[in-house]
């Protein structure tokens, strides 16, 4: 006689204990600390903060440790924590023009005010495994410039002055900025919500979509006008104070793409913009985001949307890796009942077909 499997509770309990053991690995190897992750896996921390939508390095590092280095799982942990936090206010827009720059490059001008600053980049490294890293090697400190960096006006502002690029008119300060974590996304979505969705979106998904636009699926002729990474100030302006106060210094990476646009019957030929912003040094993410942001502006710019990257519903509905991994993963849950219904149906359809 079949007896229904009992003891799910005990099984779950035991699985959690096994997971804790697996997380720790060989107890003979020293345990990794949250501070080590924060300092030495800093780009993993940056990605988890960006897609986890919360700027907190040590929480992100803790999530990475808890998730055994599974970054999507770490992002999920951070998101679930974030959902319980109160929303105390909305910051002033950050001014990346005033950034304390650590890296700044432009692919559109050989030289420009403030110059090109490579910063700590993998670009131009030869991807040869450095076996010396296996041992704790001494550090050869990087040289420091004699003088402070010159001011670095955003490249797009230089184009803007000539009217060569579409103007970007800031929203009215009184307009409420969208927040898809509070209100569901409704289509068509405004650009603020689209950008929020992309900023939280999965880096791999956006990378593939951005890449697809370069290969002809919604081509928009991008140039990386500027990528800058560094520290910016976050300010809030409480209504009762009437002036702004600084609440944080955060590191961000910003990418301003400049895209060709042939003009229309009402506007002369002009460059258009794609924008990407991510926490920390998430440069690949910021670039991919800028490509997809521009692609999603197809309809606003009077272009016929034909490619997946230009399809707002498609992109926004599938960019979130917490939603996606949950729904793909739910196939692991029992489906005995639906499958039984299908079995009954398929058997009856086959009987009908054989008759």
């Amino acid at each position: 006689m079949y007896v229904a499997v009992k003891g799910g509770e005990q099984a779950i309990e035991n699985a959690h204990r096994m997971l804790a053991e697996a997380r720790r690995g060989d107890p003979g190897v020293p345990e990794v600390t949250v501070a080590q992750i924060e300092e030495q896996l800093s780009l993993a921390v940056d990605r988890v903060m960006t897609e986890g939508s919360i700027y907190d390095r040590s929480l992100a590092a803790l999530a990475i440790k808890q998730a055994r280095g599974d970054l999507v799982e770490a992002i999920f942990l951070l998101r679930a924590f974030r959902a319980t936090l109160p929303r105390l206010g909305v910051s002033r827009p950050i001014d990346t023009g005033l950034m304390a720059v650590c890296r700044r490059i432009s692919a559109t001008f050989k030289d420009l005010p403030g110059g090109q600053v490579l910063g700590p980049t993998f670009d131009y490294t030869h991807r040869l495994l450095d076996f010396a890293l296996d041992e704790s090697a001494g550090l050869d400190p990087a040289p420091v410039a004699d003088s402070d960096l010159e001011p670095m006006p955003p490249v797009v502002d230089l184009l803007d002055r000539e009217g060569l690029i579409e103007p970007e008119i800031p929203d009215d300060d009184n307009r409420r900025v969208g927040d898809l974590t509070r209100e569901p996304v409704m289509f068509p979505a405004d650009r603020d919500v689209r950008l929020q969705n992309l900023a939280r979106g999965d880096e791999g998904f956006l990378l593939a979509l951005g890449y697809s636009t370069q290969r002809g699926y919604g081509r928009n002729h991008p140039f990386a006008a500027e990528i800058r990474m560094g520290e910016v100030t976050v300010e809030i302006e409480p209504a009762e104070l009437g002036f702004a106060i600084t609440v944080a210094q955060i590191t961000v990476t910003e990418c301003q793409m400049v895209n060709q646009f042939r003009g229309s019957t009402t506007s002369p030929p002009q460059f258009t913009r794609g924008y990407g912003l991510a926490f920390g040094g998430s440069e690949r993410k910021a670039m991919a985001m800028a490509l997809v942001d521009r692609a999603l502006r197809a309809r606003d710019l009077g272009e016929e949307p034909t490619a997946p990257a230009q399809d707002e519903e498609f992109v926004l509905s599938h960019a979130d890796n917490v939603e996606a991994s949950g729904f793909v993963g739910h196939l692991k849950l029992p489906h005995y009942v639906d499958f039984q219904s299908e079995l009954v149906l398929v058997r009856s359809l086959r009987e009908g077909a054989i008759e």
Binding site: M1, Y2, A4, V5, K6, G7, G8, E9, A11, I12, F76, R79, A80, R82, A83, T84, P86, T181, R182, E183, P184, V185, M186, F187, P188, E313, S317, V322, E323, S325, G326, F327, V328, G329, H330, L333, P334, H335, Y336, V337, D338, Q340, S341, E342, L343, V344, L345, S348, L349, G352, A353
Partner: protein
């Protein structure tokens, strides 16, 4: 659980969700967008149902959680533990003892009462989604009550197979107005939706929708006069309790084609056995 509100969600969020529930009750079968929160359980694992349950549960409630009709499947256990940790409410496996039942893929065999709420977990709320992937389109179709494509789809099944080839998540019309997905319950359970005395609430977290079938609401499974709606029937009986009128799960017992059938509703089955 220290550091968290009763039933995990903060009171503002609960109020927002309850407002959506009220709107859903006011317009039976209509999908109400709501500000779904990220829960500490994954999307697709019942977080829509969990948010609805968390917003309506009170300290005096008696909670039952089932998945596939069973109280002891791992995900049902996990969700029940979540509410025990965050609310401390009493739980039960008995359908007749529960005031609040969260379920995935089944409606209990034991008839529900007017003082009970059934919360169903919904993966994809939009009944027209496989026919039209765009939300902007399907919203217009609902507004215009333009459900012809669904009838055509059912007709094509009949033309090809001689019957409708949908076994679960079988589309229904609620209150003679809205086309609704009943969530992936087997069509066997569809007749239980019709004029059910209990309040039936549906929550979809990743799609951010809530909908409802209020008590005693008319729910009709789509069909044609010459091809009336039918439910699954088994020639076998439950190997455990002998029931001949409950939904049966098939269990493979060996690798030689041996199989037997048992009730998917574990509470119903065990109470029949002890009677």
């Amino acid at each position: 659980m220290t550091g968290y509100n009763f039933a995990y969600l903060d009171e503002h969020t609960k109020r927002m969700i309850r407002r959506s529930v009220l709107e859903a009750v006011a317009i039976p079968g209509y999908q109400v967008p709501f500000g779904s929160r990220e829960m500490p359980l994954p999307y697709g694992w019942g977080t829509g149902g969990i948010q609805v349950t968390a917003s309506v549960i009170g300290p005096d409630d008696v909670l039952k959680v089932i998945d596939q009709g069973a109280d002891d499947t791992a995900n049902a256990v996990s969700i029940r533990r979540f509410f025990v940790r965050t609310t401390g409410v009493r739980t039960t496996t008995r359908t007749d003892e529960a005031t609040l039942i969260q379920t995935r893929h089944r409606i209990p065999e034991t008839p529900l009462r007017a003082d009970q709420i059934l919360v169903l977990q919904v993966p994809i709320p939009e009944p027209l989604r496989w026919l039209e992937p765009r939300e902007t389109e399907t919203r217009v179709m609902h507004a215009l009550e333009d459900y012809g494509v669904m009838h055509v789809r059912l007709y094509e099944d009949i033309a090809r197979h001689g019957k409708v080839a949908t076994a679960y998540d079988y589309p229904v019309i609620v209150n003679d107005r809205y086309l609704m997905r009943p969530s992936p319950i087997p069509k066997f359970d569809n007749p239980k939706l019709d004029r059910n005395p209990a309040l039936l609430l549906f929550g979809a977290a990743s799609e951010k929708r809530i909908y409802a079938v209020p008590p005693w609401t008319k729910v009709r499974s789509l069909d044609f006069e010459d091809h009336p709606f039918t439910i699954e029937r088994w020639t076998e009986r439950c190997a455990s309790c002998g029931s001949g009128d409950s939904f049966l799960d098939e269990v493979i017992v060996d690798d030689k084609g041996g199989r037997l059938f048992v009730c998917s509703d574990t509470d119903y089955c065990s109470r029949r056995r002890t009677r």
